[in-house]
Symmetry: C2
Subunit: 364 residues, 2 copies
Amino acid sequence: MTARTLTVALGQRSYPIHIGAGLLGEAALYRPALRGRQVLVVSNDTVAPLYLERVRAALEGLEVDSLQLADGEAYKTLTTLGTIYDRLLERAYARDCAIVALGGGVVGDIAGFAAATYQRGVDFIQVPTTLLAQVDSSVGGKTGVNHPLGKNMIGAFHQPRAVIADTATLSTLPERELRAGLAEVIKYGLLGDAEFFDWLEANMEALLARDGEALALAIHRSCADKARIVAADEREAGQRALLNLGHTFGHAIETGVGYGRWLHGEAVAAGMCMAAELSHRLGWLEASSVERARALIERTGLPVAPPPGLGAAEMQRLMGRDKKVAGGRLRLVLLRGIGHALVTADFDAAALSAVLQDFAQRAA
Amino acid sequence: MTARTLTVALGQRSYPIHIGAGLLGEAALYRPALRGRQVLVVSNDTVAPLYLERVRAALEGLEVDSLQLADGEAYKTLTTLGTIYDRLLERAYARDCAIVALGGGVVGDIAGFAAATYQRGVDFIQVPTTLLAQVDSSVGGKTGVNHPLGKNMIGAFHQPRAVIADTATLSTLPERELRAGLAEVIKYGLLGDAEFFDWLEANMEALLARDGEALALAIHRSCADKARIVAADEREAGQRALLNLGHTFGHAIETGVGYGRWLHGEAVAAGMCMAAELSHRLGWLEASSVERARALIERTGLPVAPPPGLGAAEMQRLMGRDKKVAGGRLRLVLLRGIGHALVTADFDAAALSAVLQDFAQRAA
């Protein structure tokens, strides 16, 4: 098994990301990230039947317990979090224990938040099994749960001690989730890596066909792009916000349609199209670049507009609740070109309204 | 109004502690700690009627909302925390908002944890109104809630941006809470400040009589002692654990009798007597020092043994669940002298059992 390894450089909190086929069964990748002997593997009822036993085998000799959550964003709640706390306390997990998240972004976010807050913080290892989690949510230390009134509104920064991204798990990933993960991959190209965007235009068919080498390369490049941004701005005081390209629109879509109806990546895909269009209306982005973004997203089989029925006024209201609101002003990630994003609150509100109206009509 | 101000030195997260009579109405102390305009004051139904209006007046001109929790440790739960999140989301609080905790340790811990986790962390100001909170829980950034199976088992480190300790609030503090707060004051003397312990022996009657100058001096000295330890070890990798003198025993007592039956300081007082006795049995502490500790605690009107009915076996079981357990071994804070504590897992388990038996008999 060949692994590509890169490092998220955060001083004492630095950690490796291992990428390769078959890695989740490699004991040697877990051991350096464990301090104590108690390990709780948190997974869900879709992923556990496929991979839990191999992870358990890799942890042999330790005190390993596991917990299976119900699968889906709808369960990323304080209530589910409570079931993790209950298990940790019932089994008297000590402060030197570790939590392993085996699954997609939902499992990683919620298990990570449990790790961030159990006894004010315990060790945490991410074993992402979806493309979305491998290229995005498992890297960077954002953890949390949803609230009925907003996505990811409750959470903490808590870096994992290692990320083990086993690309072989993508062979069992549903088609729709593969495409949703590719939305975040495209995002890295759009926001700061024009060369990667070019590569994606040339290789999207190989990625959709799950070509192992193409996927490994895309995951590595995405993680490297993200790791660089996170290392420079761990707690999102500045440029880390660039990673939210498409997300303010996307979160509004996810909330508007109800959690779990659209996948996160699908909402982000439509959101990136909206961000590109707004950038164009503001005179910052050429029409040809808007079209390149839209075309690649469409070729990936992703939505390029919000769903029917979600009106412009409702979108605007939901966007106003976004975390990127500061001092009452909505900040957005917009584009000055392919591979060149910026965070700004300095845009014409009328242009935003026009874009929301425009997309609401496209959807209808 | 004269204020003593000292600083908790934590680099970018450094913050002032202001101590003095009447300070909670001083607008100038809040303003440097606020970045945005939205402020949620979290208090409880005992403290709010006394002081909320004055805090609101000090925040005039900002968007101020308030939330009153039920008073008591029994409400330091995930459920109560949920009511704070609900309010923040219902009113669309943005990431640059601030939470002000007006009350004792319970309000500070839970409001602080809400601040630590709302949108992955927002600003937080502590306005402690009990002696316990002024000398201990408001300083150092420990936040959290209880779980039915353990106290403070869920939480985060999140430093406040300022602590405003208004000593005038102590005039309305119930006698029992004053004494409980003095337990933590005595703790600072015992664990690392022999000179302060001497001073407390000479001035306990003045403190119990609520002499303003004596109280201000004791609070300042306690905060200075704590600030020095926290600055050296923010996340309790080492010497910060010294602050837990009496707490492993104390938490077991609190859990054993049921939250809220004993005040935290009362449990810590009995716990310090037990730690001193164990230190003596191990040959580390002179009998005369055990007696000095016990005598001062008794003069303060605090318990010097666990309550009747809490057996040695149950104490031992509950202590095993403590956060200070590492690698399956219980670590305790013990004493080598008045003003000289150490953290160790290297003690004779039989001596601990003997001490637990001994105190269970004293209580019966």
